[in-house]
């Protein structure tokens, strides 16, 4: 990938030593920091993962962001506005973490817009009612937390540290979403129906957020060995289901899976198989909102070009004026 540094020049001869040092650091559960030597594959994998994560935060602003102007109370408006703003902040930290690996934010944005880098498939589904805001908080942020908490111990320092802050904020968002749903379930019959409808639509896509099943996840083994990733997709999915079932009972909604039941022997819930063909279609770009989401990001980026150019031009003029002043 042209956005990443290759190994430092002249390091070739020393590479076996550096490689051993890197592996020993990983084995001791210590962090790799930006200035440490790292194998090119490790760097590339991290840039890809962190960029996808950053893109997901930024694209993920859209489905809920649509409801800020329509939120039905000022309190909910403020909560949602703040949440979507947090997502922009998460995107910023994550792009910064990617930049410590030699990537460039503008270049990553181009890759997103051109469809060369992915973001979480979940954001390609539409938000059809205000209940979706609550269900996204509960399911999508809940699933994101299951995925991300182990990343707080990721072997790459800047990513791990970004994840600590992000996870704290995500768990806030999850509770806010759940609290909105609790309030709606205590409200009118129509509100309860809105909640159940949103649960029905978001449940399976949320299970897909953990990625394909372990036997079909080609990159997982290397990422686990490098301790970029700590748990398998299926383990995390199970964790999410086990965490969510009692919350659904308490809320009074039905999760749309007839196979869902407690398995005493395993100590976990059994559940049905998500439609993996659907996941593959959405990942390939044929989900309900893929084109719309990317197009919005492209429009904002292109329409903002003159603003970014103006800021650059002003900074250059300021610097030139300062230099002239210093000479004179």
């Amino acid at each position: 990938m042209d956005t990443t540094h290759s190994s430092p020049p002249g390091a070739d001869g020393a590479e076996p030593v550096l490689q051993r040092h890197f592996e020993a650091t990983i084995a001791r559960d210590q962090r790799i920091e930006p200035r440490d030597w790292m194998p090119e594959g490790y760097r590339r994998t991290l840039v890809r993962q962190i960029a996808q994560h950053a893109h997901s935060e930024i694209i993920g602003m859209q489905p809920e962001g649509e409801w800020i102007t329509r939120a039905p109370s000022l309190r909910r408006k403020a909560i949602l506005f703040a949440k979507v703003q947090d997502e922009a902040g998460h995107g910023l930290y994550l792009y910064s973490a990617a930049e410590t690996l030699g990537a460039d934010r503008a270049d990553l944005t181009e890759r997103l817009i051109e469809g060369r880098q992915k973001y979480s498939s979940i954001f390609n589904y539409p938000t059809l009612s205000f209940a979706d805001v609550g269900v996204i908080g509960w399911f999508v942020d809940g699933a994101a937390i299951c995925n991300q908490v182990p990343l707080c111990r990721s072997s790459y320092g800047p990513y791990a540290r970004a994840m600590v802050r992000i996870c704290k904020e995500e768990s806030f968002h999850q509770r806010q979403g759940y609290e909105l749903l609790m309030t709606m379930m205590r409200g009118t019959k129509e509100q309860r129906e809105m909640v159940q409808d949103a649960v029905d639509r978001w449940w399976w896509p949320s299970l897909m957020m953990f990625g394909p099943p372990d036997d079909a996840s080609p990159n997982s083994a290397q990422s686990m060995a490098w301790k970029i990733k700590r748990h398998s997709n299926d383990e995390l999915r199970q964790r999410f289901v086990d965490m969510t079932v009692p919350q659904a009972e308490k809320l009074g909604v039905t999760l749309p899976d007839p196979e869902l039941r407690w398995n005493e022997e395993r100590g976990h819930h059994d559940f049905g198989t998500p439609d993996w063909d659907e996941l593959m279609r959405v990942i390939k770009g044929d989900g309900p909102c893929n084109a719309q989401r990317t197009e919005r990001r492209r429009t904002a980026h292109e329409e903002g070009a003159w603003v970014r150019e103006a800021a650059t031009a002003h900074a250059a003029k300021q610097a030139a004026r300062a230099q002239k002043g210093a000479v004179a």
Binding site: D29, I58, M61, Q62, G65, I68, T69, R70, A71, P72, S73, L74, R75, K77, A78, I79, F81, A82, K83, V84, Q85, D86, A88, G91, L92, F130, G142, I145, V149, R153, E169, S171, F172, R175, Q176, E179, T183, M184, G187, T188, E190, Q191, R230, M243, P246, Q247, K250, R297, T299, A300, E303, G304, A305, W306, V307, R308, E309, A310, A313, H314
Partner: protein, 275 residues
């Protein structure tokens, strides 16, 4: 090392948890402040003033929210949302105060969601569509300069609640004005295109300036800020061409009703609901 404790914490109930996200953390905004109307203050006038200032803030926050996912850079995404959240917070406090003193006991949502355009008292400047980034910045510069000057005076209001709200708002508005002024200078000085767009934005806001200067005479202060910023940006000062009518009298542009339709639609579709 295990993550189990983290998941356990997430799975637990949190009904008592009131630690909401930034800018949303108040249940009783006027807690600890004496909420009686002081002698010599006309309750209806006070309520009308609070509603006017709240309407300005709510309509502005709604326009700022429209920038979400459309800003030219992520830093601007965060900053515009910050400003929108501040103004939304001000609106909520001011509506609450109005509801306490106007005898109706209405809550903030009654004012925001269940009044029609003709009952809103915001300046027309606030309701104009966002236009490009230059227009939004110039509008914010004018609005925050005016509101800051106004709030600095209101911080000494005889109503202690309004005074407290204004004092809190002053800190926020000083940041809004600084943000807008910095961008106005960047855009005015930056490229030919950004200069042209910003100059045009100044011409577009000019007709809406007069409406701001009614209550307290803060015109000189606002004009001084604008001339300082336009000079630094290499831009001409906007020329006054006052428009007939006034948002303060409920006379609005054609843009307010659609803005409110979007803001109020869900709430009005479910009037019995609680959110």
């Amino acid at each position: 090392m295990s993550d189990d404790h983290v998941y356990m914490t997430l799975a637990e109930g949190h009904e008592d948890d009131t630690r909401w996200a930034y800018g949303t953390g108040f249940e009783d905004p006027l807690q600890g402040v004496d909420t009686d109307v002081p002698d010599g203050v006309d309750a209806q006038e006070l309520a009308a003033l609070c509603v006017t200032l709240a309407d300005d803030a709510l309509v502005s926050a709604q326009r700022l929210a429209e920038w979400t996912t459309r800003a030219p850079e992520l830093e601007e995404e965060v900053a515009l949302a910050n400003i929108g959240l501040d103004l939304l917070g001000q609106a909520r406090l001011l509506y609450s105060r109005a509801g306490q003193v106007d005898g109706t006991g209405r809550g903030e949502d009654a004012y925001a969601y269940f009044r029609d355009a003709g009952e809103f008292r915001n300046v027309r400047l606030a309701e104009l569509p966002n236009g490009d980034f230059a227009f939004s910045i110039v509008r914010l510069l004018v609005f925050s300069s005016w509101r800051l000057a106004h709030f600095e005076r209101l911080a000494a209001h005889r109503d202690p609640v309004l005074a407290a709200i204004a004092a809190k708002g002053v800190k926020e508005l000083a940041y809004h004005r600084q943000y807008a002024a910095e961008w106005a200078v960047r855009l005015g000085d930056g490229t030919e295109e950004s200069h042209r767009r910003t100059r045009r934005a100044l011409e577009q806001v000019a007709p809406y300036l007069g409406e701001l200067f009614t209550a307290y005479d803060v015109r000189d202060e606002v004009v001084a800020v604008l001339s300082q910023v336009t000079e630094a940006a290499g831009l001409p000062m906007p020329v006054y061409r006052p428009l007939p009518g006034s948002g303060r009298a409920g006379e609005h542009t054609e843009h307010l009703a659609p803005l409110l339709a979007e803001l109020q639609g869900v709430a009005r579709a479910h009037p019995e609901a609680t959110w």
